[in-house]
Each structure stands twice: as structure tokens, then as C-alpha cells.
């Protein structure tokens, strides 16, 4: 009888065979607090050791006013690790008029899969005009949107997300951190159960107040629950071991780690090509 994922994890095996996709990664260091050098090479080294096949990345600068430099860094990473690094185009709601140029520059590259927005870092509400302009473009050009969410945040809380995401039913939205706080996760679950275009990722420390089996059980469609690590704010192994060691059936773990994200990618084709 084949070993379970838990048994294999206890034996410290690598999981290359699962075709794991990490839906939520950053890249590079951050001035706010210290951690070791976190470029694309050490990230891919950790990913290789654990058997994570693909990582979805936005470079650190992408969540700041230097977002265009961030997009260049993301492109370099995708080119350095083709087929293993998938990029997000970072966009700035305060400069929404630049968004179309950025999408036209990066979307034709097969290494890019969607858009990452961080309303908290950009200090712009998730339902503001700038983001609506960006979502109009995503609706036209395809891909999906990874959104940083945190319930205590006046820019990225779940209510604001729900207000705007209901207006774009064709765009798959991934709520990064699934709302963040205890209350945020509850709201994110309700939103995901109400709108079929809402996905949740399971990284972010307050999320861990909810056990992963509980999240999977309460989602009416658990195929919209995704593995993300939030690397390098969190170690890539932290989010991954949370899934590997969870008290869940292996079929559910395989979904969270791989097939749910595969389906998201299939569901989100880009309509801007070379």
C-alpha cells in the first residue's frame, strides 16, 4: 500500500511527483524586517528541495511605487527559470493609466499568469476607481488577480473586496491570506461561498487560527482553496508543511497543492499574445 502524504512528509521526502504550485510568492528582501537573502535562486533551491514545481511570483518592488522596476525583476526571474517561475504583473491604482502598457508589455510573455495587487501597501481601497480600471483591463485581457487581503486594513478588507469583485464575475480573484484575521477568514469564507469567482489561499499567520481541515470543510467548493507560502515573509516550508501534515485526505491535499491551481490557470487564459 502506498504511503500517505503525511507518512512521506514524516520521512522528509520531496514531493516533485505532486506537481505543487505555490500561488503566492514575493521575491527579494524587505526593509521592514530582517531575513536572509531572498532572491529567486535561494527560493528555487528551497522549492526544488521540497518538490514545489512552480512558484507564482511578484517581485518586492511590485508592491511599491517602484512597481515598474518590480515587473522587470519578475520578468528576469521568469526568464531565468522558464516553466518554473510564473509571474504576476504588479499594477498601481494611483497610476492606472499606465496599467494597459504594463499588461501589453508583460502579458504576451508565457511566464506571466495574472495580476497582483496590494491595496494595503498602495494605500488605495480595493474598490477604488484605479483598481476598477485595472479590473476592466483584466476582464479584457484575461488572467486572474491575486489580491492581498487583511480584515483590519482600511484598504484591503474583505468587504471592500466583495463590493468590487461581484461586479467582475468573469475574473477569478484569489484572496491572499483569505482575509487574514479571525473575522477576516470568516468573511472570506462567506464571500467564497457566495461568489464562484473567489479563491482563497491559505498563507498568513492569522489564518492558522482556523485549521486547514476546517477551512476545507466550510468551503462549499473546496476546489477553490489554494496553497500559497507568502515567501519570503514566511518560509516556503512553513505553508507547505501546513498542508502536508494536515489531518486531511490525500485527495484534498493534492487539490490544495496542485490541481486546484491548475484549474485556476486553465480557467484564466490570457487574451494578449505575441
Amino acid at each position: 500500500m502506498a504511503q500517505t502524504i503525511l507518512e512521506r512528509a514524516k520521512n522528509r521526502e520531496s514531493f516533485e511527483d505532486l506537481d505543487i504550485i505555490d500561488i503566492h510568492c514575493h521575491m527579494g528582501n524587505y526593509s521592514g524586517f530582517e531575513f536572509p537573502d531572498a532572491g529567486i535562486d535561494p527560493m528555487m533551491e528551497d522549492a526544488r528541495k521540497m518538490g514545489v514545481r512552480r512558484v507564482c511570483v511578484v517581485a518586492q518592488a511590485g508592491t511599491s511605487n517602484a512597481y515598474r522596476a518590480g515587473n522587470i525583476n519578475t520578468l528576469r526571474a521568469a526568464e531565468r527559470y522558464p516553466d518554473r517561475v510564473l509571474g504576476y504583473v504588479a499594477l498601481n491604482p494611483h497610476m492606472a493609466w499606465e496599467a494597459e502598457d504594463e499588461l501589453r508589455t508583460y502579458y504576451p510573455n508565457d511566464g506571466f499568469v495574472g495580476v497582483k495587487i496590494h491595496p494595503g501597501a498602495m494605500q488605495a481601497k480595493a474598490n477604488c476607481k484605479g483598481y476598477r480600471k485595472i479590473f476592466d483591463l483584466v476582464q479584457a485581457y484575461g488572467g486572474y488577480v491575486l489580491v492581498h487581503t487583511w480584515e483590519d486594513c482600511p484598504y484591503s478588507n474583505v468587504d471592500l473586496c466583495g463590493d468590487v469583485m461581484k461586479d467582475y464575475p468573469e475574473i477569478p480573484f484569489v484572496l491572499g491570506h483569505a482575509g487574514g484575521t479571525v473575522e477576516g477568514v470568516k468573511k472570506a469564507l462567506r464571500l467564497a461561498n457566495r461568489l464562484p469567482n473567489i479563491y482563497l489561499d491559505c498563507c498568513g499567520f492569522d489564518v492558522t487560527e482556523h485549521s486547514l481541515p476546517e477551512l476545507a470543510e466550510r468551503m462549499q467548493d473546496p476546489s477553490r482553496l489554494l496553497y500559497g507560502s507568502d515567501y519570503p515573509f514566511h518560509d516556503l516550508r512553513y505553508g507547505l508543511t501546513r498542508v502536508l501534515f494536515a489531518d486531511l485526505d490525500d485527495s484534498v491535499k493534492r487539490g490544495i497543492l496542485s490541481s486546484n491551481a491548475e484549474e485556476l490557470l486553465r480557467r484564466s487564459p490570457k487574451r494578449l499574445k505575441h
Binding site: K10, F35, P232, H234, L244, D247
Partner: protein
């Protein structure tokens, strides 16, 4: 690999329904993950009634050999613990494995002018003192107090629980300067933090702690199993450091720790 968890708790925690409700649930989860022993407090001692919670923890531990009781204390030995002798008697009778402090929620400062009598007792007993960072607001001033306590009571193992992934700039200097300062693994989740602390300050400073059932324990088991450190260092973190601290506790009554 053996695992001994320094940071676990039982009891109610409003508004969240925790995913492990009873000692039996906890033992089942520990067995599933290969955690041999857990140091538990009862959340009543934190959130409602101090003495009731402490009695609940020792009673639970009596009935569940895989659980070791942790006593929640405050600086007021005379008024709340029957004086120094009363505290010592409770600790010895119930083989308390550590003392846990909640300075913010229990309304006291950790500054030595307030905690000197408590820490003098802890020093005499060589008792590990667990300080809860998630409750502890961890302002810069509170790190100052933590540092002073470590310096003034070098025989007290001071364990900062759940240090958080943004804390390197505060905890690394204390790790460098204080041999008696420890952190647990719960939320030590910043990129390669386990590896960096081990390389810079030694694995002796890290204790395996999960904060279950508030957090899911499996992830921290996995984080150590998959850490890029030597097998010897993994064993120190997983259980040897805790066993070493436990062996140093001085119980005036009933013989010393096993």
C-alpha cells in the same frame, strides 16, 4: 525524531472554537504527528480565573501522562500564591514544568522593580519562564524589559513564545548577549529563520513549541524535519533543549526533575 512541545494549551478561547477541545483530542493529534509530550496551561488561568486554571492544568496532567503542567503566575506572590512558600509547594507537588506570564492581559510590567521577587524565586528554582509574545504587545520598551530580566537573572531560562516573523532585529541582539534567552518555534516562520538563528547563535536557543491548538502543530513538526540544519541541531530543537532545561529545575520537595 522525538518532539516535546513547550507551548500548548487547553480550554476555551473566545471567540474562536479551537480545533482541539479536550486533552484526549490533543493526545490524539500528538500521536498522529509524533509529538511525545506537551507542556500545557489551561486558558482559564489566562482569561478568567488564575487559580482555577492552574488547578485545571495540573489535574489534566495527572490524568494524561503525555501532558506536563505549566503554571500561570504574576508578580504578587503573597497575595495570589500563598507567598513564596505557597508557590514552591504548588510547583513541587504538581511537578510544574514551567511558569507562564501574561504581562499585558494580567496588567503588570516585566520590569525588574515589579518582578524581582518572582524572578528571584524562578532563579532559585531554575524554572523556565515562558513569556507570551502574542499576548505581550512586544513594544520596544517591553523588549528592553525582557533584556534586563535576562541580564539580571542569568539562571532563569527566559523563553519568548511565538516570537513572530518580524522580530529578528529585536530578538537577535538578545540571543547574542544572553545565554539564558530562548525562542520557541511557533511562528518562527520568516524565511530561513530557524537556519539563521542556528547558524548565528546556536540551536541551543530554540525550543520546539507549537501553540496548539491555536495554531496547527503539524506545520512546526514539518518545519524542523525539513530544516537545513544538522540532525544534531534538529534533535536539540525538537526535544533535547527542553529535556536539558527540565533536568536543571530544582524542586525543594519531592526530589529534583527526572
Amino acid at each position: 525524531m522525538r518532539f516535546i512541545d513547550i507551548n500548548a494549551m487547553l480550554g476555551e478561547w473566545t471567540p474562536k472554537r479551537l480545533f482541539l477541545q479536550t486533552a484526549e483530542d490533543m493526545e490524539k493529534e500528538m500521536a498522529r504527528l509524533g509529538i511525545e509530550k506537551a507542556y500545557i496551561m489551561d486558558t482559564k488561568a489566562w482569561l478568567s480565573e488564575l487559580s482555577v486554571g492552574n488547578l485545571a492544568a495540573v489535574q489534566t496532567a495527572k490524568e494524561h501522562p503525555a501532558l506536563r503542567p505549566v503554571m500561570v503566575m504574576t508578580p504578587l506572590l503573597e497575595q495570589e500564591f500563598g507567598g513564596r512558600e505557597g508557590a514552591v509547594e504548588f510547583i513541587c507537588r504538581h511537578r510544574v514544568g514551567a511558569v507562564r506570564l501574561f504581562p499585558l492581559d494580567h496588567n503588570f510590567t516585566l520590569h525588574p522593580w515589579n518582578t524581582d521577587r518572582l524572578f528571584t524565586l524562578m532563579s532559585d528554582l531554575r524554572m523556565p519562564v515562558l513569556i507570551d509574545r502574542m499576548e505581550h504587545s512586544a513594544s520596544f520598551e517591553e523588549y528592553d524589559q525582557l533584556y534586563r530580566l535576562c541580564r539580571e537573572y542569568p539562571d532563569v531560562p527566559v523563553v519568548l513564545l511565538t516570537p513572530g516573523y518580524r522580530s529578528a532585529r529585536m530578538i537577535y541582539p538578545i540571543l547574542e548577549k544572553c545565554a539564558n534567552f530562548y525562542v520557541d518555534t511557533s511562528l518562527l516562520i520568516a524565511y530561513r529563520a530557524v537556519e539563521e538563528i542556528t547558524a548565528c547563535f546556536g540551536a541551543e536557543h530554540i525550543l520546539f513549541g507549537t501553540r496548539m491548538p491555536y495554531l496547527e502543530p503539524g506545520t512546526f513538526v514539518g518545519r524542523i524535519l525539513y530544516a537545513d540544519i544538522s540532525e544534531e541541531d534538529k534533535e536539540k530543537i525538537a526535544y533535547k533543549n527542553i529535556v536539558r532545561l527540565d533536568s536543571q529545575i530544582r524542586y525543594p520537595y519531592g526530589g529534583n526533575s527526572q
